[in-house]
Subunit: 496 residues, 4 copies
Amino acid sequence: MSERSAGFFDGMFDRTLLNLRRAWRDIAESARSAMGAPLRPDLPREDRERLREQMRTCLDGRGGEVSARARAAELGRSYLALSATGRKWFLRVLAESFDLDREEVDACCTRLLQASQGERPAAERALRKALEPPRVKLLTQFNALPEGVKFLVDMRAELMRLSREDAVLAGLEQDLKSLLASWFDIGFLELHRINWEAPAALLEKLMAYEAVHEIRGWTDLKNRLEPDRRCFAFFHPSLPGEPLIFVEVALVEGLATAVQPLLLRDRDEKAQRERAVRADTAIFYSISNCQEGLRGVSFGNFLIKQVVEELKAELPHLTRFSTLSPVPSFRRWLEQRAASDVDDLLRADESAALRRAAGAADGDDAGGVLLSLLKRETWWENSEAVEALRRPLVRLCALHLTSPAGAGRATDPVARFHLGNGARLERINWLGNIAPRGIKESFGFMVNYLYDPDAIEANHEAFARNGTVMRSPAIDALLGAAPAAVAAGRSRSRLH
Amino acid sequence: MSERSAGFFDGMFDRTLLNLRRAWRDIAESARSAMGAPLRPDLPREDRERLREQMRTCLDGRGGEVSARARAAELGRSYLALSATGRKWFLRVLAESFDLDREEVDACCTRLLQASQGERPAAERALRKALEPPRVKLLTQFNALPEGVKFLVDMRAELMRLSREDAVLAGLEQDLKSLLASWFDIGFLELHRINWEAPAALLEKLMAYEAVHEIRGWTDLKNRLEPDRRCFAFFHPSLPGEPLIFVEVALVEGLATAVQPLLLRDRDEKAQRERAVRADTAIFYSISNCQEGLRGVSFGNFLIKQVVEELKAELPHLTRFSTLSPVPSFRRWLEQRAASDVDDLLRADESAALRRAAGAADGDDAGGVLLSLLKRETWWENSEAVEALRRPLVRLCALHLTSPAGAGRATDPVARFHLGNGARLERINWLGNIAPRGIKESFGFMVNYLYDPDAIEANHEAFARNGTVMRSPAIDALLGAAPAAVAAGRSRSRLH
Amino acid sequence: MSERSAGFFDGMFDRTLLNLRRAWRDIAESARSAMGAPLRPDLPREDRERLREQMRTCLDGRGGEVSARARAAELGRSYLALSATGRKWFLRVLAESFDLDREEVDACCTRLLQASQGERPAAERALRKALEPPRVKLLTQFNALPEGVKFLVDMRAELMRLSREDAVLAGLEQDLKSLLASWFDIGFLELHRINWEAPAALLEKLMAYEAVHEIRGWTDLKNRLEPDRRCFAFFHPSLPGEPLIFVEVALVEGLATAVQPLLLRDRDEKAQRERAVRADTAIFYSISNCQEGLRGVSFGNFLIKQVVEELKAELPHLTRFSTLSPVPSFRRWLEQRAASDVDDLLRADESAALRRAAGAADGDDAGGVLLSLLKRETWWENSEAVEALRRPLVRLCALHLTSPAGAGRATDPVARFHLGNGARLERINWLGNIAPRGIKESFGFMVNYLYDPDAIEANHEAFARNGTVMRSPAIDALLGAAPAAVAAGRSRSRLH
Amino acid sequence: MSERSAGFFDGMFDRTLLNLRRAWRDIAESARSAMGAPLRPDLPREDRERLREQMRTCLDGRGGEVSARARAAELGRSYLALSATGRKWFLRVLAESFDLDREEVDACCTRLLQASQGERPAAERALRKALEPPRVKLLTQFNALPEGVKFLVDMRAELMRLSREDAVLAGLEQDLKSLLASWFDIGFLELHRINWEAPAALLEKLMAYEAVHEIRGWTDLKNRLEPDRRCFAFFHPSLPGEPLIFVEVALVEGLATAVQPLLLRDRDEKAQRERAVRADTAIFYSISNCQEGLRGVSFGNFLIKQVVEELKAELPHLTRFSTLSPVPSFRRWLEQRAASDVDDLLRADESAALRRAAGAADGDDAGGVLLSLLKRETWWENSEAVEALRRPLVRLCALHLTSPAGAGRATDPVARFHLGNGARLERINWLGNIAPRGIKESFGFMVNYLYDPDAIEANHEAFARNGTVMRSPAIDALLGAAPAAVAAGRSRSRLH
């Protein structure tokens, strides 16, 4: 009877999986000793020249490619041990001393301009090569670190911060962005569903990364992963356990119009299961980017559309896919408008009602009254104020969200994202978020953007080419009695 | 940055893993219908304009990025359905109609040459962008196909073939190579050990890809995966189940000098296990690249070094890591030398012995006699011939392998690879491979290249900078009585 | 009790899975040295007493339970190293020296018979304990061996063989059967689909275990795992990689009536995929038990019914689930009948046709003629013979399969299995298997037994209680013109 | 290019894993409808007869084994929906109506007593069968429920509770215990390491099951899973995700003598890692059984020994394996002793010191003074009291733990467990646990029991056979100046 490892095939390959990273580590280990004493965190003068020399060694390929890469890994390790000052100096050396050879670039340009037809391909290749700064090779080599890709993503986050005040670093930051954009091509991403069976280490990260509706501890998190909820994230094979972006979805009957009821949960698992079965609508109520260092490498639109496909496959009875989104620009917009063109802003009956609710005099400026009402403490719990505010605020929010801002643009950043993805503006919900942040940014407004798979392309085109904000009849109705200026805007922005 | 075991997640999520590819497929499904009737395999005239138009649509981003990518996937699917003629036409359109805008490139060059210091960064960015042909974007988008990366790897194999006779395609081929080189950076590869528990579908591929010592069916394959054997391969996360390169290793006592004993096995598993425990040497006896389309994207040196690390970790009693490699250039080299400078080639006693063995007259040209002996059927089974041939052939093979060919070069391609990786020439084994191919290419020679982790860097440097072939004392001894010309060569090629 | 997907954990922990068996091995290691020199394979006298002593030590719990079990493991290891003679002696000692204490049993019986109402529970417990032979404890302890459960399964296979001629071992064999029956309760089994992605080591076992239609190498095996085929097996968590029973299924259009077309395949994977999509019928064409040592622990009926459920879930368009099964008892039955009651057996026109085909005289015994035709070489390729044989043979096979044999019994073992599972006799196919074994056993007959989920219970009851063979109208039609004796049988065996 | 499922081989089998439980569910579904309307939770009269009938149907095998088992599953499902009253009634029916057939048992006994030698085996088999109550078959069938084994484990917990006051249920409870003991044989358990990468759902259970040192939320839990901690649990393949027992281990330098420092952690992961590397001692500071329904099926001794093996393999520099355990019986023992035989209990100097610390009169009963000091609030923070108490308490605790209680027995249950496993009493730490429970039960005492793999068997034997408490020289020293009575005890309990 032969010896056979227990454990069976589920982990079939896990058992033979060899830890590539371990090999790197060993190689790096020997590289480390070859590189001499570790750099001191703040890079005193005598360390600096050594650092520069080490970078040079990585790039000249001495000792073969494997060794070079091991040295680069070691260099990356040094970087991690540096102080803030040391890191900045490190990055500046990388940016300056391993930038393009500008003379070489110019020479290549000149040669290309003079090249014959037959010489062009070679001349183009040469120029393209000259335009690739040596530092890119070094950046690439860093991925031999145990968590090299994460290292680079975090380095870019640091570079974005630093390059705001240090233009020298901007080029390096751009190089790194290009590199990451190629590696993080959407085709390489993996979509995973996350539930309460996921590793605690991962769930802990979701709590840290949630950017829209704060997760207040493990109980709140568990609420968001229960049977009538879904959570999906994109991962990259080189960043195991590290989400890139994730979205939280509630399965409900009818369009959910307020956030708080979604977050406050009863714990009856059976009821939740049944709700999931009855649900006709998936509400995307939170979407958070996790990696600062991947800003500008866009995943959100892919995530939403793929999650729609997943949900359709799992739960064929779902017929509606919608967000429940904030209007972060609304407060500022309203305050500016109220201060300037009040006559246009409010209708006479609205103004009168506001003055009554505020106990203001007839002649008081209606815009000012409006704003003053909205400055009162917990105004949203005062039913009289709410009554008077509702009509004008809802109408103005609709106006704000549908105002033309040019092709592919919208006045609100969240609107721009979803409209640009091909969603349509479906419904405007006042007091849909009465958390402090919701009140502060949006006077409590939450908006449903509807993703209708069959209309996405046309919606996108209308918005991208003409800035047309596709919207539901309900939104049209809200705008119905709009003042002339708005009507004009509407006639321009509506697609028929 | 905390240490975390790589590859943790791959298994963890299998149950919640969502099939990203499925989503793509669904999206592609709808893209397909939007694209009208399928193209006919040989692309008659009316289809060609449609194809060109489809490519254009992929690149103009109409309907949003997700849709564009879905359309590209659909286009890739069309490509797969085309005939050879259709494919060639497809690739030519891609190469020609979506190449650089040369006027734009020239304009950017001119602007760059005239740019002030402050304007340079922007001008460089513009030029770099102008140098990126639109077809690269389309190639990238193809990875949205269910097996998009494999699709592109295979497309490059096709392009390499076609571009030999159609220069128009060479640029496209180069673009694709760059793209693949970035994606297949060594940092993204995963090393797996392959054994008899591996999926049959994978093992079947090993049989197909083995390029050195043919695997003659499942029994032979199983022999190579038994307890005193190891097999390792590199994989890429986007090519699941598809090896990129693999190496076969035998665990033996002492340096293995012949292939056939390694391949002919007894089936006593217990004995094998014990051999593995006693072994002091790992023999790398076969290394095969699997993906024609990744030619020029080098993995072999990394593979060998990482497998050395793995084996050291698993079997600490291993003290020697060596290849058993062919000398594929030897026959041709010998024939040329024998035809030209025979006087130098053979020593008098060698010539005499050869003439005796061949029954040739004293005056017969010794080189001709040598070659004529090697043309006889199954000469290697004739003990008299073998006796006479041994000394001159071994000496000449040593001479051949140590002859200088310039920095980083060697006269034999296999030697170039291993010496370039930092191995040293350890031992020359005559009749180490008496399979027909071994006899034909190398007159039966097999060579051990030794990988000594501590010497790899220095060996590499010596070879890369001066063409010095590092070698064992035994090889020196073989060359000891060499004629003057050889001694000279030797003095140039030896490092002391 | 919440719903949770079974099997979740198996993968999850692969990385943190600790090798329990390793710990055992280490413990066993120390037990081994404690037990002194290994036993010699054929157990010479001086080893025998030592062995007996070792068994005793395992049972007295000396040194604690963990140590006792480690010693048992070591004892099991000794067993594996014994010769056939040594093993037999070992098993006899186990059977005889660690059997029931018969006096204790008798005493317990007596006490029980005299016990008052209140004393009964304790008396029953004592008797039950007395009836459990000590050897059972030792058998249980053997599962601490690295592959302890497999060890016991194989030991039972050996015991079944040996106990045929050595009644002393029969009791031990029965004890072991009970133990295994408890551990292999159907509730612990796992159903897996096996395809070409399965480990080669597992597939190799399928080839060895296939008991119905021999698998002639890897190509034939691959044929049986392609897209229009399915293969399922039961596994037990303690026998990783070791199938208990497996079934091979073909997805076809209409009822498959012959084996050879199922086994001879074109290799067009796309066509296969399409066939799987169009298929309306699943044909179970082979079902093989893998573990001799589990004979009498029944899985087959569970396997078929669960596979039916799996297939319905995966391929909702399947409407028919049927076997294609041999009739292994037919030849013998026919030969006996033909030798005895020929008058009843054949009808006059059938006899005449047979005589014509055989070139026999009018007076020749028709039964003898029939058998003589069936003894000719490759008679099934002779169209005249086939023509004459078809009607009588098909009718007689139907007669054979539907003849009453009592409640829950049938004259054919395969029929008994499927009818007992609730299938109905659907169709009789002559020359459905012309492989040598098919011809030899069944004169080429293959039978479809139909599993109709809605009728299974009723079919089972009818067969189990009255021996009624449920059958299709087509079978009725075959029997329609049956001679009186048969008609009588039919009236008893048909349910209406 | 063929379609291939994304996801790679790690999950190779996960993808083909078929959910056996699903099949059962489907079968159960149809069984359910066959069983008519669901039973009402409190089982009114008309439901009771139906229930009884359903149990009968499960056992008579009607419709075949698969159907019978499906019906049993359905019955189990009914049970889960019953009220407390309904369940009790259900269990009583099961216990009474499906108990042994006592007449049959008696008849078998009689036949056995009269059997000839040759008839005995059959008579024994018959008797054994008669002694197996039908309800056991039904219990077995319940494992066809989706989580059937967990169902049975929980049912036993319920039965243990109920049978305390209802003797009728005791037999059923014992039957169930036997069944579970066979299924949960130690050979089937899997040892897993649990860390922060484990599923949140599992970690949540650890918090609920921890029985020794309460886990106060996720932060505390994470502390216990960090790099210098280990957590191991036993699992059973049929209870995925459900730990049976787990142990928490701290890696430290030197013997840890107090709990609080182990639980209060700094969060410096690097420091923790380094501590793990430097550690020479593994402290088992908490071990908790998780399944009430498996009480009496012992795992703890196996767990500790296997974890010792695991730790030795992972961290070869560990040289000491010890528990840090409470003395839960100490308070009660001391109070009883202090009340009765005070003269023996305390030495004169101890009594004097206690009286001084308590401000008591010279004549006051020293035992009373001792107890009164221990009743003051937060007495352990009063340095004078602590000073006076230390010597007598430590001595008395040593006395308590080493007092003879007979072979294999100890006066303290925790001591009995560890001494019975072969550990030795290593060290007594006063104020090693100042949490309220620690003070209350043990006056703050914590004890180290040392597991020395080489001494375990001998220690076990000494304790099991003679009640000898093996102990360190330090414990001997504590007892050195013991009064005569103790010395006598000691001479009996010490092994030399």
